[in-house]
């Protein structure tokens, strides 16, 4: 810890009934990009700054700056609060937090040289391009952040910790004539570079998918039973019940509060979905949030029934008379914390792969996510790969699959939950109100959904 309460708050001219918090961050970033037929860029960055939030009778405000003078930023926040006169919202009480949180798991990326990284990742790019004569291009995008964070509040919270995030996205494109086709590899970690090693076999498989998709038939539009693998099911849970549970969405939305009222059944017995602080080394590991609230577990659905439908920061917790849940997260010092997801988990069920597939007459096996969008009512997802299922057997690839449906209606369509829970991280991150890419994790088994709407793209 470099900051002290006396030096930061003492010079800011706060009143006795003002609440203030200061967050200081120093981040080192490495971005490496290969695109087309070669290395596109290597970028190393130092990104540091601080932010301050004040709330008191004179008003509330948030200020940030790339200068490291926390007291000056605090004074700016006070000045804004006074001049712009926005009434502060109450914050839910919780005990002051202090401590440091270990994050060393696996092979720390900052201990791997830039030379070794460029050799390894450049090799992946070259192998993707060489995988088949029909491969038209490949994208390799690696990003690594190592951030030291300090948080101080006038209530006595005093926290310092290091967080890491690394992501690697590899997409292989094949020339399909009328339409380009793609296969992808996506890995991530909260600080273990070893997840980026040994990927040659999966890159070869992604290239094969891109090439094979060229000759695959375009899916017929209609209603299908869809078996989603763990990575796709995890993203689906995040984008549906996860975002709906962010408590700021519940403010002023009586319909949403009614739809997620505790005790309401949304899905089948056996469907349990939880947001929690995650495990060290995972991207969605948030032992303490950006307001200093330690991470707890929130049971969103248990056995298909809504239990605790809101993920809180201190402001929303006060508004609903509930306890903060440790979900107040900010992308970096430029942003105030918002209720955000951390690690969303679907509990494993009982179905084996044979049962999941065997129960489908006409359907699709969807793996991974290429893209997607949701709002509070609907979703569309593009699986990274789809295979037809006919009479309980997995067939060949189909292309152009777009899954869509109603966010809440889809829970009722689940009729089987796989017994193996997938727990790997991908490069997929979360975006909300301009704060992207926020690292998150999802743990999920395969799910089978009956009668999902599918149309070709």
């Amino acid at each position: 810890m470099l900051l002290t309460c006396a030096t930061v708050f003492g010079a800011a001219g706060l009143h006795a009934d003002d609440y203030a918090e200061v967050r200081v961050e120093r981040t080192r970033i490495i971005d490496l990009v290969w695109r087309g037929d070669g290395l596109e860029s290597t970028l190393t960055s130092g990104d540091e700054g601080c932010c301050a939030r004040v709330a008191g009778p004179a008003g509330s405000s948030f200020a940030s700056s790339t200068t490291m003078d926390a007291s000056a930023v605090l004074r700016q926040a006070r000045r804004n609060a006074r001049e712009l006169g926005v009434r502060g919202e109450p914050l839910a009480d919780r005990p002051p937090e202090s401590g440091e949180y270990p994050c060393d798991v696996g092979e720390a990326p900052e201990r791997v040289s830039l030379a070794e990284k460029t050799d390894l990742l450049g090799g992946y790019h070259a192998s993707a391009l060489a995988a088949h004569s029909a491969v038209a291009g490949a994208l390799v995008y690696y990003r690594e952040l190592v951030t030291d964070v300090e948080l101080l509040t006038t209530e006595g919270t005093r926290i310092g910790y290091r967080r890491r995030d690394l992501t690697l996205q590899i997409t292989v494109y094949a020339d399909g004539g009328a339409a380009r086709t793609a296969g992808s590899v996506s890995v991530g970690s909260g600080g273990d570079f070893s997840v980026a090693r040994g990927l040659a076999p999966v890159i070869e498989s992604a290239a094969a998918t891109a090439v094979d998709l060229r000759g695959a038939p375009v899916v017929e539009p209609g209603s299908y039973d869809v078996v989603c693998d763990g990575p796709l099911a995890g993203v689906w849970a995040h984008e549906t019940i996860g975002h709906l549970a962010e408590a700021d969405h519940h403010r002023g939305d009586a319909e949403l509060r009614k739809a997620l009222a505790p005790g309401r059944r949304l899905g089948p017995s056996g469907l349990t979905i939880i947001d929690h602080a995650g495990h060290p080394g995972a991207r969605g590991y948030v032992p303490v949030d950006d307001e200093g609230t330690p991470g707890g577990q929130v049971d969103l659905l248990r056995d298909g029934v809504v239990v605790r439908p809101r993920l809180h920061d201190r402001s929303t917790a006060a508004a609903f008379g509930e306890a903060p849940t440790g979900n107040a997260r900010a992308l970096n010092f430029r942003h105030p914390p918002l209720p955000r997801l951390r690690t969303i988990m679907i509990d494993p069920g009982t179905a084996g792969d044979e049962e999941l597939i065997g129960g489908v007459d006409r359907g699709l096996l969807a793996r991974g996510v290429l893209g997607g969008q949701t709002d509070r009512s609907g979703f569309t997802f593009l699986p990274a790969e789809c295979r037809a299922i006919r009479d309980g057997r997995v067939g060949g690839l189909v292309r152009g699959v777009v899954l869509s449906g109603d966010v809440l209606g889809a829970f009722g369509a689940i009729d089987a939950i796989g017994r193996d829970q997938w727990r790997g991280d991908t490069s997929a991150s979360c975006g909300k109100q301009g704060q992207y890419p926020l690292p998150v994790s999802s743990w999920a088994p395969a799910l089978r959904l009956r009668g999902l709407r599918v149309h070709p793209g």
């Binding site: 120093r26 971005d31 990009v33 695109r35 087309g36 070669g38 290395l39 596109e40 860029s41 290597t42 970028l43 190393t44 960055s45 130092g46 990104d47 540091e48 700054g49 008003g59 405000s61 948030f62 200020a63 940030s64 700056s65 790339t66 200068t67 490291m68 700016q76 926040a77 804004n80 001049e83 712009l84 926005v86 009434r87 830039l114 460029t118 038209a136 291009g137 994208l139 494109y173 020339d175 380009r180 086709t181 793609a182 002023g252 319909e255 430029r334 105030p336 893209g371 997607g372 969008q373 709002d375 609907g378 569309t380 593009l382 777009v402 869509s404 109603d406 149309h455 070709p456 793209g457």
Partner: protein, 456 residues
């Protein structure tokens, strides 16, 4: 000379001693933001960002570093040189701007009485006044941005600065339909653009309409500017040098081959001040050059229905054997983000149609006997330039019967092929355009396509 300008010059001098070629980009930006909930200011933020980027060419390779910290010039150059040891091969430096120096941006607008903070506050209160006037609940964000950009290279020094307001509003209806109408726009003075009030007055009459299903038979499709932006996104993506270099553009190989209706053109030409625009927003700054130092100039991407040009950063132009077009920015021209690489981006695209029916929104609406008005769509970015088809959902749409909006659509799946909607089915567009910004920025009209243009 400002502190930032001095730092840029100092770093340039240090780099000159260690690099074969060098470029320094510095940005200093102050944002003041007021958020509005239900017509009342409910949150205040401010941000000061000072950031520098140094790119060096050394022994045939490129190294790039960025910092927001107080690193001394020597240390920054050492980091850049070290990065260059593992960097991509250097291409010849961009040709310098023919007119280095002050950008042709307009002089920053005056904040008026009370200074920056009160100017933002006045705009935010304007959203509250609109709420009272039109009867829709207003949420949104009003921000004031003041940005100075310095670029220095051996060829010279360029400086650009501007000050503007951005309004992002969401008007919510109280009826059972629960409509939410988004609106985005820029203004150079602390007054709400006239287009916002006009549109909300029109839309307020739709708030109490019944919620209905989209017609199953073929029907006309009227697309609002936000939906037109989504529809064009696959094409705009496919015409970027980035997609062409990646081998994932469906349009790059088809330059010169007719794709859209022969009347349609798509041009990138940020509005040169002080000409202004249809909304009375007085235009936005037009940088003298992009972040590669290539002069910004108008570019016709689609000419009479035919894809004519790709837009490039210096790097993608070299990779494609093409000419740089002045579209290489870190982030975009309005908001430089040093942590992002330089990529080609459109900052002021407009869609127009020669010799096709144009008119006011009411004229297009009145000509629809049976159709849908799509306000916003989901799904435009999903395939990243791989396909000209937008497949996804209608986020907000309206049913049209006999030239009038008759109901609010249930959200539903949709697939729109831009080659059809802006091709054989294209009927016309409005002469007025609205600012739309997501991934790329432009001013889009309402577009009408005949029956069969959509499969909702």
């Amino acid at each position: 000379m400002s502190t930032l300008a001095e730092r840029v010059a100092e770093i340039g001098a240090a780099a000159a001693a260690h690099a074969d070629h060098w470029e320094v980009l510095g940005v200093d930006r102050v944002d003041t933001v007021v958020e509005v909930g239900s017509g009342v200011p409910d949150a205040v933020r401010s941000a000061h960002e000072a950031a520098l980027c140094l790119r060096v060419h050394r022994a045939g390779r490129v190294g790039t570093v960025t910092t927001t910290g107080p690193d001394d010039a020597g240390a920054l150059v050492r980091h850049a040189v070290r990065s260059a040891a593992y960097g991509p091969p250097a291409s010849p430096p961009a040709r310098p701007s023919p007119a280095p120096g002050r950008s042709p941006a307009a002089e920053p607008a005056d904040d008026g009485e009370g200074g920056a903070a009160r100017a933002v506050r006045r705009l935010a209160e304007g959203l509250g006044a609109l709420q009272s006037a039109v009867g829709l609940t207003m949420h949104g964000t009003v921000s004031r941005t003041e940005q100075t950009v310095h670029r220095m290279a051996p060829e010279g020094h360029q400086e650009g600065r501007d000050r503007f307001f951005h309004v992002s509003a969401l008007a919510e209806g109280a009826g059972t339909s629960g409509i939410q109408l988004p609106w985005n726009g820029w203004t150079r003075s602390a007054a709400l653009p006239a287009g916002l009030a006009s549109w909300l007055s029109t839309a307020a009459g739709w708030a109490g309409l019944p919620v209905l299903d989209a017609p199953s038979r073929e029907h006309d499709v009227l697309l609002a500017p936000t939906a037109v932006h989504t529809l064009l996104t696959p094409l705009v993506t496919a015409l970027s040098g980035t997609a062409a270099v990646s081998g994932r553009s469906f349009a790059a190989a088809g330059l010169g081959v007719p794709l859209l209706h022969t009347s349609i053109s798509l041009r990138d030409h940020p509005s040169p001040p002080p000409a202004g625009d249809e909304e009375g927003t007085e235009g936005l700054a037009w940088p003298g050059s992009d972040d590669d130092g290539v002069p910004c100039a108008p570019l016709t991407l689609i000419d009479s229905g035919v894809p004519a040009r790709l837009y490039h950063s210096h790097r993608t132009a070299v990779a494609c054997g093409d000419v740089p077009t002045g579209h290489g920015f870190r982030g975009n021209a309005l908001r430089r983000t040093m942590l992002r690489p330089i990529t080609p981006v459109l900052n002021g695209a407009t869609l127009s149609a020669e010799d096709s029916e144009t008119g006011r929104f009411d004229d297009l609406l009145g000509g629809v006997r049976d159709g849908v008005l799509i306000e916003s769509l989901m799904g435009g970015q999903q395939r990243g330039g791989l396909s000209p088809i937008v497949e996804g959902r209608i986020r907000l749409g309206f049913l049209i019967r006999h030239g009038r909006v008759a109901g609010v659509l249930h959200p539903c799946a949709v697939a729109l092929d831009l080659r059809e909607v802006l091709g054989a089915r294209f009927l016309g567009l409005t002469e007025h355009r609205w600012a739309v910004s997501r991934i790329w920025s432009g001013r889009m009209p309402f577009v009408l396509a005949s029956a069969g243009g959509g499969r909702a």
